[in-house]
């Protein structure tokens, strides 16, 4: 659904996005993570045909960005920018109706879709109230509804839950999951690692360049490695030596704990336990040391 190859954007001599190559499948929720200034918004704007590329190629729904076909891309994508950008003096209904008209929907289509979206977000009763009087969360819901007014197959969401309270964030997240169930392609820019982990099928971490891409759990395993923690009653040099003899990549000693880097916990853990018991150790717990996505993210971004 979305394909880029060496996509690059320069602002003067400054590279905002460098040689980005990625592929997002139809019906996939893809999260793009990165620090401020990493090029996430620029990437989204290029893909939504809001700004031009400097070099490289990109296609959305089979249409090339930066070509005369780009107007077709704008017809098929819904965009939620970082700022809600609603007309505060107009009602929720009028805001959505205006965009429905620009997205070439008939009056009947607009009426049905607006009612459907506002009802879903619990705002139908407030449809005639000026959005300027709405809370931040309510405005964000209207902005999400605006991005979906024309029933797009690809949706670009730029920090959709930024500055929202937990309840409003949950509503938006649940809605993204609903979009996923509807098999729509969602391209999500976020700082919220927990959110990305919960709702994205795959994530990409970028800092002008794409640093890593994959499923969150795969990324954790491939970048961090798998580790087993063995908590003992008492740790002795004999126990450490016994575990080292098994030839793991790394063994760390923390008070009465051993942290052992393993390639496959299913086969390695029984051997480790056996070796420790044979060396006279008494085991309290054996557990998997799971790095968070935050650990992976920070390691990549700081490097």
């Amino acid at each position: 659904m979305i394909e880029t190859e060496n996509l690059t954007k320069m602002f003067g001599s400054v590279a905002a996005v460098e040689e980005l190559t990625l592929r997002v499948e139809e019906g996939e929720v893809f999260g793009l993570l990165g620090p401020n200034g990493a090029g996430k918004t620029t990437t989204m704007r290029m893909l939504a045909c809001l700004i031009s590329k400097t070099s490289g190629e990109a296609k959305v729904g089979g249409y090339g960005i930066g070509s005369p076909e780009s107007i077709n891309i704008r017809r098929m994508v819904g965009v939620l920018p970082e700022s809600v950008g609603l007309f505060d003096d107009l009602s929720a209904y009028k805001n959505l109706d205006f965009y429905g008209r620009l997205y070439e929907r008939t009056e009947e289509q607009r009426r049905t879709r607006i009612e459907q979206l506002l009802t879903m977000f619990g705002l139908w009763e407030k449809r005639d109230v000026a959005v300027g009087t709405f809370s931040k969360g309510m405005k964000q819901k209207v902005a999400v509804a605006r991005a979906l007014i024309h029933d797009p197959s690809v949706i670009f969401l730029d920090e959709p839950t930024a500055n929202l309270d937990p309840e409003a964030s949950k509503t938006i997240r649940d809605f993204i999951l609903e979009l996923k169930r509807e098999k729509r392609t969602v391209f999500l820019n976020t700082h919220n690692l927990d959110e990305a982990q919960r709702i994205c099928d795959r994530i990409g971490i970028m800092k002008t360049k794409l640093l890593a891409v994959g499923r969150p759990e795969e990324m954790r395993d491939s970048l961090w490695g798998r580790k087993t923690v063995v908590q003992l009653e008492r740790l002795t040099d004999a126990i450490v030596a016994a575990v080292q003899r098994l030839g793991p990549a790394k063994v760390e000693v923390r008070d009465s704990e051993l942290v052992v880097e393993v390639s496959d916990p299913d086969t390695d853990n029984p051997d480790i336990v056996k070796a420790i018991v044979a060396a006279g150790g008494r085991i309290r717990f054996v557990s998997d040391l799971s790095p968070t996505l935050e650990d992976v993210y920070l390691r990549l971004v700081r490097n």
Binding site: F11, R45, A48, L50, I51, S52, P68, I71, N72, R74, R75, V77, V79, P81, S83, V84, G85, L86, F87, D88, D89, L90, K94, F98, Y99, R101, L102, Y103, E104, A130, A143, R146, A147
Partner: protein, 247 residues
């Protein structure tokens, strides 16, 4: 090359009308300024005529000069609307979702331009109509005929006023792309009155300069300026510039 879909420009313009209608300062300005001019000028004329007798030729000079002020009015009103249309939306960050829709820069620009042009021209005409009725009632006794409408005011209202209004819209679009503050945009926009005001001063010095032929020449010059400004505003109004450089 894609042809402009004019209905989209109209959608943009009507949306702006709805917003203008909700902004008190815009509504008050659009109504208040033409009303002040259309009632204030006949009142001033009445004072002039009461103070000392005025000859017919002198009265004609004054009336033509007053009629010319509606060109200034048509140049001034778009400074309020066009500055909101662009800088206001820039400040409220409404442009990005608008630019994401399947509309071209030309359609958006035309829509925004119409939103500033149509209310300005409409209220100028309404003000001019009130002005002409009041002046005719006031001067019928002295002239023995209704002075308005006449060929001079017809050229002023149907040719010079729309062209001057479009000129002002063009200047204000360009100014809006250069500044980020609504007040600054309006203050700079008022500079558009300088060339038109200059013509007014020249007209005041020499009655002949307000003859139809000269009015048409002035209008033709403004029309050329309009075309140049439209080109310039197309160059200025680029979605990439708006998203990445308009702060």
């Amino acid at each position: 090359m894609r042809i402009l879909e004019l209905w989209k420009s109209w959608v943009v313009a009507t949306n702006d009308f709805s917003i203008f209608w909700k902004k008190k300062y815009i509504v008050y300005s659009l109504i208040g300024i033409p009303v002040t001019l259309s009632i204030g000028l006949p009142l001033a004329l009445r004072l002039i005529m009461q103070g000392n007798p005025i000859s017919v030729s002198e009265l004609e000079v004054v009336l033509n000069a007053f009629a010319f002020l509606f060109i200034l009015l048509a140049s001034f009103l778009p400074t309020i609307l066009a500055s909101y249309s662009f800088v206001g939306e820039k400040l409220e960050k409404n442009l990005e979702p608008l630019l994401a829709t399947p509309t071209t820069d030309g359609e958006l620009l035309l829509g925004k331009g119409l939103a500033a042009f149509l209310p300005s021209i409409l209220t100028t005409y309404l003000g001019a109509a009130v002005f002409m009725v009041l002046v005719d009632r006031l001067t019928y006794g002295a002239l023995g005929t209704y002075y308005f409408p006449n060929w001079n005011t017809t050229v002023i209202l149907l040719v010079a006023v729309p062209i001057a209004c479009a000129f002002s819209v063009g200047v204000n679009i360009i100014i809006s792309s250069l500044v980020s503050d609504l007040r600054a945009a309006q203050q700079l926009g008022i500079l558009v009155l300088l060339p038109v005001g200059g013509l007014y001063v020249l007209a005041e010095r020499d009655f002949k300069s307000l003859e139809i032929g000269n009015l048409i020449i002035i209008s033709a010059l403004l029309l050329v300026a309009d075309a140049f400004l439209f080109y310039l505003s197309r160059v200025t109004f680029r979605r990439e510039e708006i998203l990445t450089k308009w702060k």
